[in-house]
């Protein structure tokens, strides 16, 4: 029996997504740009998928641009916004706990002459709305922050960023990396002053290799790929139809977010309660974090060791964040945690596929691991 608790890394594609991808490879295989009937059918399917993604965000179809994933969408947003606005200012505000697909483009922006401010989190991984607001100045051209942190699950103060931009009258676009929030937390970009918003298919039971960038109607960004005019020339290239149609299907298959959140909250609470009785375990995710992510440090047992131990028992979790492949977490470091805590940090992340059994299997395997691995030291 396997217990997959690494859903912030990726989720299992849902039945609907797999069927849609299969259809794109067997029936609707035309090029959406072709003028014949097969091309037309593909273009209808493409637009239906776009509509389904747009509907989750409550935006219009024309505001969704498909990309090869969250990383590309983040790159497109950051470089596209900065290059379009750099004449009006050179300051960019972000946080120290962003995903590498934001932080590394930021480093590149610094090379291009931008002054990038990285707002630091508190000890719980929260970004203070006041500190963030103070970082926004009248010459800020881009504010980029994630909706939910992928390692500890903290929810970032998007509204404060928007309020600060309006208040300072900064010529800034607001970009939100919503990869961990999309389909989970209510997030209507048009209501919250968000200009650009990144989403990814494989975190909501779609396929890897597909994402999208919401670009608010009227928010102008410059492309950095050039080609045959697809995706309104912002991101040209023949559309990756299997992934895109699967993305649309996965969006349509999303359960009511509020109902799902209740189920996930119950699973999260179950694991939290179980962790509390284990000696030497410290929960790192604060209580007000997204229930989908739960980070904790397992005493003095190194994360890799514990991960392997759990894996051998069919329980799959992450150390830090999966992208970092075991490197020291920049998020936990920015939170000011001790080296021991960082080295032993594990992340559990839930999806609608999880059950109480998965939680219990994790807790018992973890208890066993703590007994045997700590003793062996």
């Amino acid at each position: 029996m396997e217990h997959y608790l690494d859903n912030s890394s990726t989720t299992k594609p849902c039945k609907e997504a797999v069927e849609a991808a299969l259809d794109a490879m067997t029936h609707t295989f035309g090029n959406p740009s072709s003028l014949h009937a097969l091309g037309f059918a593909a273009s209808r399917a493409l637009e239906d998928a776009r509509e389904s993604v747009a509907a989750v965000l409550g935006v219009s179809r024309a505001e969704i641009t498909f990309t090869s994933g969250g990383t590309e969408a983040n790159n497109l947003a950051i470089f596209g916004a900065y290059e379009a606005r750099k004449k009006r200012g050179r300051r960019v505000v972000t946080t120290a706990i962003e995903h590498p697909s934001v932080l590394n483009p930021m480093k590149e922006l610094e090379k291009r002459g931008a002054e990038v401010v990285y707002v630091k989190p508190d000890g719980d991984g929260r970004i203070s709305p006041e500190v963030l607001a103070q970082a926004v100045t009248p010459d800020t051209v881009l504010v980029s922050l994630m909706a939910v942190n992928n390692e500890v699950g903290t929810v970032l103060p998007i509204d404060a960023a928007h309020a600060a931009i309006v208040r300072t009258k900064a010529p800034a676009l607001l970009h939100v990396d919503a990869v961990q929030a999309f389909g989970k937390l209510p997030l209507k970009p048009s209501r919250r002053g968000i200009d650009l918003l990144t989403v990814s298919a494989h975190k909501i039971h779609g396929l890897k290799g597909t994402g999208a960038l919401y670009i608010r109607k009227g928010a102008h960004i410059l492309p950095h790929t050039f080609g045959g005019g697809q995706e309104r020339d912002v991101r040209p290239g023949t559309e990756g139809m299997p992934g895109i149609l699967a993305f649309g299907a996965a969006c349509r298959a999303l359960p009511d977010p509020q109902k799902e959140a209740k189920v996930i909250e119950a699973l999260n609470a179950r694991v939290r309660a179980g962790l509390q009785v284990l000696p030497d375990v410290t929960v790192l995710s604060p209580a007000d974090a997204s229930p989908y992510v739960l980070s904790f440090s397992a005493g003095r047992v190194r994360a890799q060791t514990m991960l392997n131990f759990l894996s051998a028992r069919g329980v799959y979790v992450s150390s830090g964040s999966a992208c970092a492949k075991g490197a020291e977490s920049h998020v936990l470091k920015a939170m000011g945690l001790s080296k021991d805590q960082i080295d032993s940090a594990l992340r559990v992340s839930f999806s609608r596929d999880n059950t109480e059994e998965d939680c219990d299997a994790l807790l018992s395997a973890l208890a066993e691991g703590m007994r045997t691995l700590q003793a062996a030291r």
């Binding site: 273009s43 208040r167 209507k188």
Partner: protein
């Protein structure tokens, strides 16, 4: 916190004895537009309509968006509901308006006290709310002339509300109060704007589209469906008629002088549209013509096309510049759809040198070579109709 929508009526308040009819139609339109979102209580009081959601899970963002696209409303506000005492009103002001006030630098307060039994008078309400908000949001200052935000406190017989700056509504008068008209729609930038403008003057829309397969593709027709869906977000439901037109065009090409092609084609379109209009109970036609824009839109050409119809033809864009039309098209969301590059029926067989100053007599003589009635009947036999923006969205049928 409970939230409602307050709608201020536009020109409606100017109507005399007909006002009830206008108001009832507006309420009916609002109900129809909001019903997919859940249950609402709608009531009209003086020149305001109050919309209260009756279930918890109503998407108020979407409701506000929809209300913003209903004709007959000048402005609307989302308001927080307070109890009718000052403490509750202050608290509601602080929590409900926090996001707006956080983003503002200056503000002022205005109070409307319709309920004269409320112990505080309007200036006192303003004073208390102003002082309280200054305490709660220390970054704010008061500016009574050009505030970023005006905080409105409304104490009415049936409750107290707090809201910020009202949002501009769609204006105009309610769809349906002006009767029905049929719009000729091709897929260009102008006709959707013309349709939208006339719906804004209270007309219910029927659409007539001419399709010329194999010269035009399914995509061209789909583009018109997309355009009407967009217009329908403002006008409500639209019945769309797709009229086969290729055979008529081939006949004109084969049997009539080339330079008259466009005008002869326009005359057929008008005849067919008028017949659709009469069947559907429409009393006028709508076109997107703008004087002098193309050869078929000169004064003389318009005289020649008008000669074949006996009902009024509304051309709301006749005196508009292209740039103004484009600006409206952008506002109503049809521009991006209109510029998709598919051949439509108007660009098939375009003559090299179309006649710009035609003589009616020459056109009538040219038409003698054609069996006009039979050609029009044939188009009707193969016509298709679909309902756009209704519950049976996109369902197709024959006439």
């Amino acid at each position: 916190m409970k939230e409602i929508l307050l709608l201020k009526l536009g020109e409606l308040v100017l109507k005399g004895l007909n006002r009830r009819v206008f108001e009832d139609t507006l309420l009916k339109n609002l109900r129809r537009r909001l019903s997919p979102l859940g249950r609402f209580d709608l009531r009209a009081r003086q020149s305001t309509i109050v919309i209260t959601p009756l279930s918890e899970d109503v998407d108020m963002d979407e409701a506000a968006d929809r209300v913003g696209r209903v004709f007959g409303i000048a402005t609307y506000s989302r308001a927080g509901v307070a109890k009718k005492n000052m403490e509750s009103i202050l608290e509601t002001g602080k929590t409900y308006l926090a996001p707006v006030l956080e983003a503002a630098r200056t503000f002022k307060v205005e109070a409307k006290r319709a309920d004269k039994t409320f112990p505080l008078k309007s200036p006192q309400i303003c004073e208390e709310m102003g002082g309280f908000l200054l305490e709660q949001f220390p970054h704010l200052s008061v500016d009574v002339h050009h505030p970023d935000v005006t905080v409105y406190v409304e104490v009415r017989d049936f409750g107290a509300y707090v809201h910020g700056n009202p949002v501009r509504g769609a204006g105009g008068i309610p769809v349906g109060t002006g009767g029905k008209a049929a719009v000729l729609i091709s897929g260009g930038i102008d006709s959707p704007v013309a349709a939208w403008q006339m719906a804004r003057r209270g007309l219910e829309l029927t659409a007539v589209h001419f399709a010329s397969p194999p010269y035009t593709s399914e995509r061209a027709e789909q583009k018109v469906v997309d355009l009407l869906e967009q217009v329908g977000q403002w006008s409500g439901r639209i019945r769309m008629f797709t009229m086969p037109f290729a055979h008529i065009q081939e006949e004109i090409r084969d049997k009539c002088p080339e330079e008259l092609f466009t005008l002869l084609m326009r005359r057929f379109m008008m005849r067919i549209a008028e017949r659709v209009a009469r069947r559907e109970g429409c009393e006028a036609l709508i076109t997107g013509e703008s004087l002098g824009q193309v050869a078929s839109q000169t004064l003389q050409a318009i005289c020649c096309t008008d000669a074949v119809v006996s009902m009024p033809v509304f051309r709301p864009l006749i005196g508009s510049d292209k740039a103004d039309i484009v600006a409206t098209a952008r506002r109503i969301g049809t521009f991006e759809i209109s510029i998709e590059p598919y051949e439509d029926c108007c660009t098939v067989f375009t003559p090299k040198h179309p006649r710009t100053h035609p003589h009616l007599q020459a056109l009538e003589e040219a038409e003698l070579a054609l069996d006009c009635e039979a050609l029009i009947d044939e188009s009707f036999e193969n016509a298709r109709v679909r309902l756009i923006g209704g519950p049976a969205q996109g369902k197709e049928g024959s006439l």
